[in-house]
């Protein structure tokens, strides 16, 4: 069994008095793709936002239980949010490049962390764009506005922006929901490439996507983790009745 990079123990999460996650116990392995599925409002996006503590930006959120990411308790008193988010990158639902050039989008994180000298920026841009298979298309247009790219290219750019930070984990929150089916497949292919070097957690409302693209699948319902396991076995012989009902399309 591979190393666990994310472990939650008895994780509860509340928005004010509303409990969004209940007693989540989950272990996610490195260099795999783990899919979180479930109907709207089941807490899958909330859960993925726990892993880089993006829920902190919402007022009135509090958590119980323990979450270890890359061996560190991220809710501990010594937790370093900035270091955490460098190691755990995030790709969002809608492609959201900054209204800057392609080049500036990639270097944004590097500038912030002063982690590279300006001389290395060029290499980092080329490396990141190559990794998301955009370099050949864009190498002559690096100074163009990122907003003029196609949606798929924009989403690839957002992934490249994360890769430039040299993260270990990439969280993807329904990364294909704004894309057409062909672009969706191509992003899934990209994820297969990326998983050689990165661990990926993807939230998706698209069961086929989870079945196609992921190694492990977690099924969530009403803030509870109902079932977690190998994707193949979840989709072929689910243990829980709820899981079976969901993947056969009886609700959600």
């Amino acid at each position: 069994m591979k190393k666990l990079i994310i472990e939650t123990r008895h994780l509860d999460l509340f928005y004010g008095s509303f409990q969004a996650l209940t007693d989540i116990n989950l272990g996610i392995e490195e260099k795999n793709i783990t899919a979180l599925i479930g109907p709207s409002g089941c807490g899958k996006s909330t859960l993925v936002r726990v892993f880089n503590r993006m829920n902190d930006t919402i007022e009135g959120v509090h958590t119980n239980g323990e979450v270890e990411v890359l061996g560190e308790n991220i809710f501990g008193p010594e937790a370093d949010l900035i270091a955490l988010r460098q190691k755990v990158g995030m790709v969002f639902q809608r492609p959201n490049p900054f209204p800057l050039s392609v080049y500036e989008n990639i270097t944004f994180g590097l500038e912030i962390h002063h982690s590279r000298s300006k001389k290395e920026f060029g290499e980092m841009v080329e490396q990141s764009l190559t990794d998301v298979m955009l370099w050949n298309d864009l190498k002559d247009r690096l100074d163009r506005s990122a907003l003029r790219l196609s949606l798929e290219q924009q989403q690839r750019l957002c992934i490249a922006r994360v890769l430039a930070m040299k993260p270990q984990i990439i969280l993807m929150d329904e990364p294909c929901s704004a894309l057409d089916p062909i672009a969706t497949l191509r992003i899934e292919e990209l994820m297969q490439e990326l998983k050689r070097n990165y661990s990926i957690v993807i939230v998706t409302h698209n069961m086929q996507q989870a079945a196609r693209a992921s190694d492990y699948t977690a099924f969530m319902y009403l803030g509870n983790l109902i079932e977690f396991g190998n994707t193949k076995s979840i989709f072929t012989k689910p243990v829980q009745k709820k899981t079976e009902e969901y993947i056969t399309g009886r609700f959600g």
């Binding site: 930006t57 460098q86 990158g89 944004f108």
Partner: protein, 281 residues
Amino acid sequence: MNVQVEQKIAFSILFLCTLLVVVPVLIILVIIFVKGAGALNLGFLFEMPTNGMTEGGIFPAILGTLYLVLGALFFAVPLGVLSAIYLVEYSQETVLSRIVKLAIVNLAGVPSVVYGLFGLGIFVLFLGFGASILSGSLTLGIMILPVIITSSREALESVPQSFRIVSLSLGASKWQTIRHSVLPHALPGILTGTILGIGRAAGETAPILFTVAAFYLPKLPQSMFDQTMALPYHLYVISTQVPGIPETIRYGTALVLLLLVLIMNLAAIILRYQFRRRKKW
């Protein structure tokens, strides 16, 4: 009634109302230009008034207004922008923050003469700055503060939330996020507020009446603790207080005030355009 006719009537009323807004502005501009353009020459702009202000130039008033506007911006822009950042990015919805926001709105509604009295009380007398460029700039600064805060707040609030979220998710701190992914996109809007502030600060008479403006000074101000002449007050003086001032000088002064505001606005607009171009929306 026929729909077509109704349509025509509605259109005509709307058009007339719009025209009514434009006409007075045009008339004012034309009159001032026609009557004042004759006075405009280098001597008028760059010489001291002579012979009881009936001859010579209005240089000290032009310079004074420039000093006062720049001084007001010097105080109001940093203070206004920083408090807008605090209100939009940091403060939570509490009773206190609501009171602060309400206070800003009310500050915008205070008559300018009240600012003048306030400036007289605080800066001139209590802090002992006397009637001086410093007192006048501070008073004008407070007057334009609400304009700058309000437009800065609107500019900050119009920056998409996703910019902040992405920036934070890349490991930027809150301040880095504001500095790198919010402020640059809010700058054009902030500059719009500054432009409005320039216009008000340059044109108001009442706030400078008690705090800085001099009836007549034979020499230019030497420091920020000196009084100065200023265009709006000078215009008031030569139009109502001193008999026998030629009409061209009065209208020429008004024209210079208008042009000065126009030029300063133009500078700010060009600056704003530069920022917008860099943004590549």
